[in-house]
């Protein structure tokens, strides 16, 4: 965004001080609520904290991290998180893009279709989990009914009891919500695309796919980067949907890192280890977000 007329340069010292004063309340609140607990969590992760959490306990350095990184549970959980995230990011983004392209066309009932898109996005994540848990239920679920009607299966199947299908169904549920979110953002991006560009390209004889590749996709790049980065972060930090659907089970089939940390902190109350895990998860989410920005923007810079 270009530098604004009143700002930059024309500001007196009093103006800057005024800006600081206006921002200070929010700054102080956020520092107290975000910075302090984050620092405390990092401190916890370096100590052998007693289960009641009243004191830090003895300093153990990086021992909590060594224990975490040396445990099979962690790596198993990291793998589940990776698979969940990969499926979540890829399908949320692609289905979202497909929805945005579709709802950008002119057809009867388009307004209604766009209103439908809002339902999954406005629904609380936890409710999405409950909704899909029962939809996929082995005895009363609608998913089974549909598959039965389509002739894809002959009897009801308990998807969430099977370690392989449980992870798939949690991904589908989370994608159901997030594809709508991606669709809304990408549709907003598409609507700013000037018609003239497409018309001119069409007159030059460009086909549908050429126009998509050379006009629509580059135009959507910034929105796509935003959506993908958000999807990556949502993926790594996902808790509600999985908690509602499987609580990490069956066994540890859907135990993503956030569920593992929850169990560590509130199940077995190992605060030091749980905090070390939480710090690792925070870094993974940050690194994942930054890496995505970098990869997508590098792809943009290359000539098409």
């Amino acid at each position: 965004m270009a530098a604004s007329p009143i700002s930059s340069g024309a500001l007196t010292r009093g103006d800057r001080l005024f800006g600081l004063k206006l921002t200070a309340p929010a700054g102080i609140i956020l520092a107290a609520l975000l910075l302090v607990p984050t620092v405390l969590t990092v401190l916890y992760s370096l100590h052998d904290v007693p289960a009641n959490g009243r004191s830090l306990g003895p300093f153990v350095g990086l021992e909590n991290y060594t224990i975490v990184l040396g445990s099979q549970v962690f790596w198993r959980s990291a793998w589940v998180t990776f698979v969940f995230s990969l499926g979540f990011v890829v399908f949320s983004t692609l289905i979202g893009l497909a929805i945005a392209l579709l709802l950008n066309q002119r057809f009867i009932g388009r307004g209604l279709a766009r209103a439908l898109l809002i339902i999954p996005w406005a629904t609380p994540w936890l409710v999405i989990g409950i909704l899909w848990k029962w939809f996929a239920d082995g005895s009363v679920g609608g998913l089974n009914a549909v598959l039965l009607m389509l002739g894809a299966t002959t009897e009801y199947y308990d998807f969430l009891a099977d370690p392989n299908s449980a992870l798939v169904i949690t991904i589908v549920a989370a994608v159901w919500r997030q594809a709508s979110f991606a669709g809304i953002l990408l549709l907003a991006g598409l609507q700013t695309l000037p018609d003239d560009l497409n018309e001119a390209a069409s007159l030059d004889g460009a086909g549908v796919f050429q126009r998509f590749r050379n006009i629509t996709l580059p135009w959507l790049k910034p929105a796509l980067v935003t959506v993908t980065v958000l999807n990556v972060i949502y993926a790594f930090l996902q808790f509600d949907v999985i908690f509602a659907m499987t609580q990490g089970g069956p066994g540890d089939a859907t135990q993503v890192l956030s569920i593992l940390i929850y169990r560590q902190l509130f199940g077995v109350t190992q605060i030091g280890l749980g905090s070390a895990l939480a710090v690792i998860l925070g870094f993974v989410a940050l690194a994942g977000g930054l890496l995505t920005v970098k990869l997508l923007y590098r792809a943009e810079r290359q000539p098409a």
Binding site: L11, P37, R106, I118, V127, W134, L148, W176, A188
Partner: protein, 306 residues
Amino acid sequence: MSDIALSRAPRRRGKAATAAGLQRSTTATVILYLCVAIFAVWILLPVWYLVVSSLITPSQLGVKPFPMVPSSITFDNYLSVLTGATGSTGFGSTDMGSRLLPAIGQSFFVSSVLVVLNLVIAGIAAYGLSRYPFSGSRLFELSIIVSRVVPAIAIIGPFFVAFRVVGILNTPWALIISYNVFTLPLAIMILKNYFDQMPREIEEAAKIDGASRLQTLWIIIVPIARPGLVAAGVLIFLESWSEFFYSLVLTNQLTVPPLLAGFQSVQQFNWNSLAAATVMSMIPPVVLVVIFQRHVVGALTAGAVK
């Protein structure tokens, strides 16, 4: 910017439009409507199943395959959930249904207080960042963006300890305080973006007329910024209505999401009541967003950049 999405863009008809392929072939039309149908099924199927489940009896629910079009409907599930007569004698022996209305009330309370508080605090901060950038304001904005990746679970421990010391565990205040972690940055991002796009001429004029900086903010900006404030308010409401994790850990099923989660484990055999409660929990946020969709989508685009 606030109404670009979900609105009908006027399009030219005529030669150019035809040339651009807006005139579709029959095949293209068929494919298009087929895709629309698939889209509608994708969104509606799970929701339809939920709504139907909430309108039938447990014995109808047991029918295989599930009756996607029920032969008869009943509102008993809604009634029993609202009056607290779900007949649950699960552990804890509290009828989960009797807690739904209070939980809805608490959710409304927490969300509304946050909307008001955040609009004031985030509004003035965003205005300061937009119009009077100070040294360090860029850093502040960056840290707001980074705050998005702090896992809620990483900071819940200190909150739990602090709230126990102060004695506000299991009160709405625990949530009103902790939800600022995600609602305040969201509101600042949205409003800063909104202020950045607002023309500055009127403020300049007010300044020349001798209005102080604070007067300008209050008299000039607040009235014109109303659409942005509404949009930010709706998104704050949505986020706090939906929040589950803090409410799970810091309270005993005070708001709707943790209540539903608890309901789910107790009411294993009464999916119909849970379905009715779930439908009711979806109505406020969905209705709110549908009403304000034009405002909200524009702001969402801005807030999402964070």
